[in-house]
Symmetry: C2
Subunit: 568 residues, 2 copies
Amino acid sequence: MEKLIKVAMGLDKADLVLKGGNVINVYTGEIEVADIAIKDGYIAGVGNYCGNVEIDMKGKYLAPGFIDGHLHIESTMLSPSNFAKAVLPWGTTTGICDPHEIANVCGEKGVDYMINESKTVPFDAMFMAPSCVPATPYESNGATIDATGLDKLLDKCHGVGEFMNAPGVVYCDTDVMNKLKYAKQRGVVVDGHYPLAGEKELNAYIGAGITTDHECVDIVDACNKLRRGMYVLVREGSATRNLRDLFPIINNKTLRRLVFCTDDRQVHDLLTIGHLNNNIKIAIEMGLSPIDAITMATLNAAECYKLNDRGALSPGKIADIVVIDDIYKFNVLEVYKNGKLVAKDGKALFDASVIDCKDVRNTVHCKDIQESDLKLKLNSDMVRVMGIEPHNVTTKSLVQKVSVTDGVYDFKDGLSKICVVERHKNKGNIGIGLLKDYNIKCGAIAVSVAHDSHNIIVCGDNDRDMAIAVNEIKRAGGGMTAVHNGEIFDTMELPIAGLMSDKDIDYIASKTAALNEFAINTLKVNSEVEPFMTLSFMSLVVIPELKISDKGLFDYSSFKFVDIEVEK
Amino acid sequence: MEKLIKVAMGLDKADLVLKGGNVINVYTGEIEVADIAIKDGYIAGVGNYCGNVEIDMKGKYLAPGFIDGHLHIESTMLSPSNFAKAVLPWGTTTGICDPHEIANVCGEKGVDYMINESKTVPFDAMFMAPSCVPATPYESNGATIDATGLDKLLDKCHGVGEFMNAPGVVYCDTDVMNKLKYAKQRGVVVDGHYPLAGEKELNAYIGAGITTDHECVDIVDACNKLRRGMYVLVREGSATRNLRDLFPIINNKTLRRLVFCTDDRQVHDLLTIGHLNNNIKIAIEMGLSPIDAITMATLNAAECYKLNDRGALSPGKIADIVVIDDIYKFNVLEVYKNGKLVAKDGKALFDASVIDCKDVRNTVHCKDIQESDLKLKLNSDMVRVMGIEPHNVTTKSLVQKVSVTDGVYDFKDGLSKICVVERHKNKGNIGIGLLKDYNIKCGAIAVSVAHDSHNIIVCGDNDRDMAIAVNEIKRAGGGMTAVHNGEIFDTMELPIAGLMSDKDIDYIASKTAALNEFAINTLKVNSEVEPFMTLSFMSLVVIPELKISDKGLFDYSSFKFVDIEVEK
């Protein structure tokens, strides 16, 4: 503290002074031409300063480092250190990260890995303890985090991750209540996840101490949440893009309660349009004042998540600073993290170091699959079919007559078969269903990223290729693979929990592009769907209408398992 | 938590529902017609609810309880429970209270008394641990709170009180640094007090972790503080009224960083214009939107002081609710604290119970004063004189020729004599000075409220009456007294630390009015000054120009003691 004060007073020289830039002031909405003096990674003063190193910032704009209010690193398939390399050049210096994907595979040890690897890079990943592991009792996952486990995680986490189990909250499930009480005792932030909550349910959910929501897709829902005291996280992810729809809720009154987030973002977007900068840029393009947009990405997020040490360029704050060419063009030129230059001209200036952690490797535990394991035996031919909806992760629940030979589904009607193979504890569970409009031909696709329990999902038009694909995923310890006429085309290995690669973003981007292209061009998958990502959501039973887990077909409207045969 | 959720869900009835009022929403700036359901003192839901008791609020406006960002209870001369009775009818339900007056007399035990008595009434006094006790080394007070003592106080206090020792901060005084480090370790709010801070000093002061300031008297100073990240507390006290001057700083960007406070408020004002409602009312009269003004008095203060459980009418918040007739007329009709009606039509609905605490009684410790103790011996006749400045607490430092007989000041020139008698530890210190333009005749006035160390200040035109007055204060265990021609006119006893009465506001108001009237009408004190209050500030050595403590005359410009005789 004394060191900072002495620099502020001009009695000692700063380590670094960024001279004469246009300093964006999120407290007053002003832009000041001023020097920023940095000492030991903190801002010592804003004004007129000298330093051991001085960098001319004349004409450039300096903003506080961007804070992403809610994201899942796993969704990028990048490990934490490679994730940091990918987002820092875009100006994101802090992320509120919910590691619930890896927690569903590896439990607490998965969270530990995320925390530990994040510490090796100049990016502040604030991890939220996952609140809903497993997400539902309708599938088999790798670990359970109950209230006691959550409380233990809170020793090392910043708060509690998105409370997807909204019914558990509003109907006072015992374990849920205990989780919320532990959070309250610690005074930590609890993130919400409650799309289209009803009036009374919203009161109950907020009264339980849940203070944020990133699932608003329309302005009515967003306004309801703001009125009752929630921070609304305006999301611009890869699959879910809500900013344009929610833009009308931003005004001078509500601004302070609005935060930007990305939630799930894929590598292609990270390479092209970027990260939280993209939220800011879109908001500016839509007419929001650049300083207001930056305020949402900085001060508001800091206040929402009680991060008193960041969110503004003022004395005593961590020196996380984004250098921008122009507040309308909004190109990020340089990024300083803790007072050090860590990214320049779109490139990170540090190496990622993926931790070789046994706890999160070799997580695929199932027996070798035989063709016969995937056979769909039918006593009748009127069956329930999952109907793909292009550009969406929901399905339609269809009923149709299918082709059956000797009591076994025979593929002759052109549907695809989809199976979910339990892969955590070698339980032997295989859920089998049929998929319409996926249209795969002469092959199979398999992936170990399958929300939320991350079993192996495989889809194909013949059992042989499907078995090969599953066994290849097993061999790789998790990943994405495509098989054509008995031959493995290629596999992107995801050795970290079956969810993340240990390679960098360029590798992942080129591999996924090649696999997706092969799926569409050679395997003839419907070009209206994203071959792998669509499959990853077919096991997410908490959204409509007909989904599949390792335990079987799940009907959302009745919220229970159903037999594939209608008349059974 | 379950009980609240069940009421929110409509599964259980609320204890109380305020039906159909105009609910002021500080999150969105809207007014909603809605019911507020209350359970166990908390808001369970806002919407459409049923309760065991339902009260029609149609046409009335409901605001969150007002939060005063900075105040000293002692300044009202009311004990904490009587203070609560006085302010609750005006809508103030929470106060950030700095007990540094009583701490200067009784130390930690004084703070304990304030905390304990406050617990007996439906008012949330959040006490800040006094940071500067004693305020300066230039006077004798009753107790010292060093860094260790402050840390101990933080076990029971909400944060650290106004850091008046700004030089100690910016020049890294060791004890000051330790205090700030303890505060930082605990993550508590540290209040500032730094009028007209320079640019570098302000950076240093804020970088040290001090986040508020209530001493802004002009917009330049206020803007500087906002820019560097401070919350600015807009004060409207009795002596210091800054709201009108600071009004131009309020805009859509800065609003969230602005909080209302009263600091020091006297009983006359409390009885007539009220408390924090007066800040709101003035702001509205000046053109601020009523909801913005209410937001400053509620949500902003809650955010500034990290009070997550209040500041808005939303689920999970404490049910502190102010019922107002009209948002422009702004008359407070009823006040609910923790869901109970505690004030109606300007009257508190509960009794004050002053704790009979030995630790804060009998705090006047000095020997009986003789006329001879107060003699001012002079070897020369050119002396320094304190020049009263009407309507102000500063003085002018004057030099003039005075009347001396046999080496003793003889009063023949019409000046008043002012003495400060140490009263904490019977040290025998008496500081003696001369006061111009106070004009007291044929008597003396004495008071044990004397900033910041609260020794006895006495002023008169003859030593006999002055000695009588001091001895009367001693007899009373502290208070305010007026003596005329050897007779005590009346004494308002302030038995609690010599600062506060154990009587109610009406008693204090009538006694002080009578004493002030007597001082002006009978003792002929200059009618341009407030006889008692002006004296109370003559010992405040940290403001210009010439002041007096028990240790002697103090010159502000050289910041040291000076002899009364110019040539000595």
